[in-house]
């Protein structure tokens, strides 16, 4: 009996090369005769370009060419936005190199092509660009007034307004009734600060135009989408483009983009006929790679005096930044389906205004729309509890969907297939010692301890496994959400798995090997996973939205199923038995009731030699499958944070963090643990540390890691992680997704905890990140307004 692979905490196959410096990142690639690029970027957030003088740069030693916006105006096209959320959506043209106007500080205005990276960098300073500065609009609420326009040509800052109304959709009652009849009305405005994905490996692209095809290596999450989009944008036949994502050092959504720099590197290679490389500096990465979050959330929640929520009204202002990137406009819309979270609200309305500002554009960042929604509702549930003098857990229990009620159609129109919020919560409470910590909290309040204790709760769910293609179609997204896989049995019986879902740190090679090892009954080591090259994996929709296992993994399983089906025909022929008498287990077909058997390896070799195959059977044991999910998957969980707030310094410290996640069936607990830890870190970072700050002119102040504070291991606690397992019913494995769960859940848990520690001192709210100076200022303000109880 072989040990089941699924469920085993295997060390990751990919780690030995990643952690011993034998990795191959894009910047490690050097091709013969390769040229190097450096970008000239606008120092102004909004300006008209009056002239670009490149003469000095062109004659600088080592410089081969300089490209300006006008040089490539005819061929650079406009970078793609694949998600026109409404038919009327407005968007400015988005040239890779700005031609007449720049709309954010950091936008590319020229590109130096030189024989060395140093020569390219030296020439950047020699390009003389004249600008006429234009007024900038940076603040979202100001942008909504249209007094200053980010793109004067559009006549407005509003890109689109998108509405969901449960009354109109028939998924619930009209919100107006709920608000009018509210016994309790909680009105709040929350600010989702702008964040920077801050992946470890800066973006890098190498383009080789010298063969039959143009080959593009890029630090991207989306080799397949990038290939299609570069072909469409630059007018290159798709068949002439090969995109390779080699080792990619993190993305978090930040590499789910078709970037100006990628397009420019292709243009540069085309102009010079030579391989070209561009690798951004960290400063460029923070300034010009897309940002995330950046929303103002105006919320109204109505409830009865007993704490039953009767309706939720959400009005969002969402910062697009200066342009619409690949899915910029759709990110806040993904959140639309999650504001109601795990609760049974009878009425719900969501209205989002997508606004342009003169800042780097926003786009997907870990959780994309769902962390914002989860934060809002989990903060509101706490506010409701405070208003009613109830325990915040009790308010949640009164409103959540009970496990008997699944499948449950939410007021936002999603069908939640499974879940058990009671079980996850019960387990979390036990691990947390909720009662004990509440007692300690009371003691500290009583003693007026300078260090106060607060308990933050976040009971979250999310929709992941993006996505059923028909749902994406209904939301006006340009592409589908399926994923493709191939399973190939080699003559030796070794297996090659080709997946369209290309990992950039997630561990697909390990997880997919485990899936296939179990399915085909072959040793884990005999499975090789190939990905990230459009010539090897021809079809795919790549990695984001916690989709890899629940969509990509299911495609792998489906392809493996097809291999078994085909092998069975051959096995029956070889053993002169009826297919009906065969059973497949542990890599062997056995004839029931006999000791006759043949292994997959034997069948593979017989197929390869093809000497004796049944009529009509093609001599291969390969298969293809494309899986399109019928539904999202809905991981959920209960996260509890005990926060200590030092009222003397304002510092909030995590004393204890317990999370119980229900992500269905787990393939590799070690990988899951890693995803949870990393996710928590990023959610905690939003709550306590990170914020992209601009000055009044629109220059990024947090332009280096000295000022953009990414927490490190010493800043984060030991987490207590646990799981409950309520399988998803919408895929054959019962898996959900885990890539974003920690990020989505942790931010409100932390902020709720901070507020719970200081609310009795008169503090009502603290904007994220809850830095020591902000917490202290809130305490001071509360003192001044006599809020101390």
């Amino acid at each position: 009996m072989t040990i089941a692979e699924v469920g085993r905490a295997r060390l990751r196959k990919e780690d030995s090369h990643l952690i011993t410096g034998r990795s191959r990142y894009t910047d490690n690639i050097t091709l013969p005769g390769m040229l190097h690029l450096a970008m000239v970027r606008s120092p102004f957030a909004h300006a008209r370009i009056t002239s670009v003088d490149v003469s000095a740069a062109k004659s600088s030693p080592g410089v081969v060419a300089v490209l300006t916006g006008s040089d490539v105006a005819a061929e650079q096209g406009s970078l793609p936005n694949a998600w026109p959320v409404t038919a009327e959506q407005k968007a400015p043209a988005h040239p890779a190199i700005a031609v007449d106007e720049v709309a954010f500080a950091g936008e590319v205005v020229a590109c130096i092509i030189a024989r060395s990276a140093a020569a390219a960098r030296d020439a950047v300073e020699l390009v003389d660009v004249s600008y006429d500065e234009l007024p900038v609009v940076l603040d979202l609420e100001e942008a909504a007034t249209d007094q200053v326009l980010a793109h004067p040509g559009l006549g407005t800052n509003t890109s689109a307004t998108w509405v969901f109304d449960s009354g109109e959709a028939g998924t619930g009652k009209p919100i107006s009734e709920a608000l009018a009849g509210a016994e309790v009305l909680i009105e709040r405005t929350f600010y989702q600060q702008r964040l920077i994905p801050a992946f470890m490996e800066p973006r890098s692209t190498v383009v080789d135009p010298t063969g039959e095809q143009i080959t593009v290596w890029s630090a991207t999450q989306i080799p397949h989408i990038l290939r299609l989009m570069l072909a469409l944008t630059l007018g290159i036949p798709e068949s002439k483009l090969r995109v390779i994502a080699p080792d990619v050092g993190g993305g978090f959504g930040g590499k789910l983009q078709v970037t100006p720099e990628e397009a420019i590197t292709v243009l540069a290679a085309r102009h010079t006929g030579k391989p070209c490389k561009y690798t951004e500096t960290r400063s460029e990465s923070l300034m010009a790679a897309h940002h995330g979050r950046a929303q103002v959330q105006r919320l109204r929640l109505s409830a009865t005096k007993e704490g039953i929520v009767t309706g939720l009204d959400v009005k969002l202002l969402a910062d697009m930044g200066a342009y619409l990137g690949l899915v910029t406009s759709g990110v806040p819309i993904l959140g639309a389906f999650m504001y109601n979270s795990i609760y049974k609200f009878p009425a719900y309305r969501f209205e989002c205004t997508n606004l342009f500002t003169n800042k780097a554009w926003t786009d997907a960042y870990r959780g994309a729309g769902r962390p914002e929604a989860t934060f809002a509702i989990e903060r509101l549930m706490d506010e409701l509890a405070v208003e009613l003098g109830m325990d915040p857990l009790e308010v949640r229990e009164k409103n959540w969907i009970t496990h008997e009620e699944f499948p449950f159609t939410s007021v936002a129109g999603l069908e939640y297939d499974s879940g058990n919020y009671e079980a996850a919560t019960a387990k979390a409470l036990e691990l947390f010692d909720y009662e004990g910590l509440r007692a300690e909290q009371a003691r500290r309040r009583e003693a007026k301890d300078p260090v106060q204790l607060g308990i933050g709760i976040s009971t979250f769910t999310e929709m992941c496994g993006l996505a059923p293609s028909r749902v994406l179609g209904a939301l006006s997204y340009a592409a589908g959400g399926w994923e493709h896989a191939q399973v190939r049995v080699l003559p030796t019986g070794n297996i090659e798995v080709v997946t369209g879902s290309s990992a950039h740190g997630q561990g697909h090679e390990t997880a997919w090997s485990q899936l296939v090892a179990d399915k085909l009954g072959v040793p884990f080591e005999n499975v090789e996973v190939l990905h990230g090259d459009t010539q090897i994996s021809q079809r795919g929709l790549d990695t984001y939205g916690s989709r890899s296992l629940t969509v990509g993994g299911m495609a792998v399983l489906a392809a493996a199923d097809k291999v078994i089906e085909k092998a069975k025909v051959i096995a029956a022929h070889l053993m002169e038995a009826s297919e009906d008498d065969l059973e497949f287990a542990e890599g062997k077909f056995k004839v029931r009731g006999t000791d006759q058997s043949t292994s997959l390896g034997e069948i593979a070799f017989a197929t390869f030699s093809a000497h004796n195959l049944p009529d009509g059977v093609e001599p291969n044991l390969d298969s293809d499958a494309t899986f399109d999910p019928q539904n999202f998957s809905y991981p959920h969980g209960t996260h509890l944070a005990a926060m200590e707030v030092d009222t003397e310094t304002g510092r909030a410290t995590i004393r204890k963090y317990v999370c119980v996640d229900d992500i269905g069936v787990v393939v590799n607990p070690l990988i899951v643990e890693g995803q949870v830890h990393g996710g928590l870190a990023q959610g905690i970072a939003q709550a306590l540390y990170e914020e992209a700050v601009h000055d009044d002119a629109g220059t990024l102040v947090t332009g280096s890691f000295v000022d953009y504070l990414v927490p490190g291991a010493p800043d984060l606690p030991h987490y207590t992680t646990a799981r409950t397992e309520t399988p998803s019913t919408t895929n054959q494995l019962g898996a959900k997704g885990v890539g974003e769960a920690g990020t989505i859940a942790s931010t409100p848990a932390i902020v709720n905890g901070v507020l719970d520690a200081v609310r009795h001192l008169g503090v009502k709210d603290i904007r994220m990140p809850c830095s020591p100076s902000r917490v202290w200022a809130a305490l001071e303000e509360a003192k001044l307004s006599g809020g101390v109880q």
Binding site: A117, A118, R121, D122, E125, T281, R282, S283, E648, T649, G650, Y689, V693, V701, T702, V706, D707, L709, V710, P711, G712, P714, D715, S771, P772, S773, W776, A777
Partner: protein, 284 residues
């Protein structure tokens, strides 16, 4: 992240370094651990035409006993200051402050002298050096001169070390038997000080005989919290006395406002951290 081209020299003696420095024009930079200089060169905020590396000059590195003081070479890395037994025995404040600098990589390359000459208001070595009343030994074309700590730090990133001069050693009086603590406040572990307080106390019986307190990042230069020092001299060793005295910590300070906090917050922190530093130093 590529600096402009520059010439490079690595002299092996101080005399050689001084003569190179004298002949190289004014566009020259000395390189110690490079932990401040290299980043600004990579960002092209500095583009010297020549860099003189002090790393091969053996006489500039190490900690020596010099009677009533320690003589610390300018090129002694932070890690060595943090772990040297002489420093631990006689000026533990320096060891404790050096241990809070950045991370092990930076502490192994960054130097004591480099940090002091760089004189970043948020740097962690200037305030302890000031509190300890260090003397700076500076070599120049005209020979050697000595500058007291109070005169060494002259402004934002500026010290008494002139063009053509090299800081060779820092002479730090011994505070054997004193309690010491460096209380550093940051938002993430590996960060420059938002505010930090360097405190040394000499306890006699149940009272504080003497206290020396330096403040990091409360002005463009490190400051002595003289009002607190005066209030504590001869005061009882109690939390109340320390708290009352610490309330004066920000007197005469002029901190900057930035993303980590405004001036009012920094002034408040100075008082809180002074209290904490003193409590820890006195072992209360």
């Amino acid at each position: 992240m590529i600096p402009s081209a520059f010439d490079y020299a690595a002299p092996e003696t101080l005399a050689e370094a001084l003569s190179l420095l004298g002949s190289a024009g004014d566009d020259v930079k000395l390189l110690a651990g490079g932990q401040s200089l290299i980043p600004v060169m990579k960002l092209r905020l500095a583009d010297p035409s020549m860099v003189i590396d002090l790393g091969r000059i053996a006489e500039l590195s190490g900690v020596r006993d010099d009677g009533d003081a320690l003589l610390i070479g300018a090129m002694t890395p932070h890690h060595q200051v943090a772990t040297d037994p002489l420093v631990a025995a006689h000026v533990p404040l320096l060891a404790k402050a050096a241990a809070t600098v950045a991370d092990p990589q930076v502490r192994h390359r960054g130097t004591f002298g480099g940090a002091l000459v760089h004189a970043d208001p948020a740097g962690d070595l200037p305030a302890p050096a000031l509190a300890a009343g260090a003397t700076f030994i500076i070599a120049g074309p005209g020979g050697e001169r000595r500058v007291a700590a109070a005169d060494f730090f002259q402004g934002y990133f500026s010290t008494a070390v002139g063009d053509g001069e090299i800081l060779t050693h820092v002479r730090v009086p011994k505070y054997t038997g004193w309690g010491a603590h460096y209380e550093k406040f940051t938002r993430v572990a590996q960060q420059w000080s938002i505010v930090a307080v360097a405190a040394m106390v000499r306890v006699e019986g149940n009272s504080i005989a003497e206290a020396r307190i330096g403040l990091t990042n409360m002005a463009s230069t490190p400051l002595r919290a003289t009002a607190v020092e005066e209030a504590l001299a001869g005061s009882p060793l109690t939390l109340e006395a320390i708290t009352a005295a610490s309330a004066h910590a920000a007197e005469g300070s002029d901190p900057a406002s930035d993303l980590n906090g405004d001036a009012a917050y920094r002034k408040h922190l100075a008082a809180v951290l002074t209290k904490r530093a003193l409590v820890a130093a006195a072992g209360l």
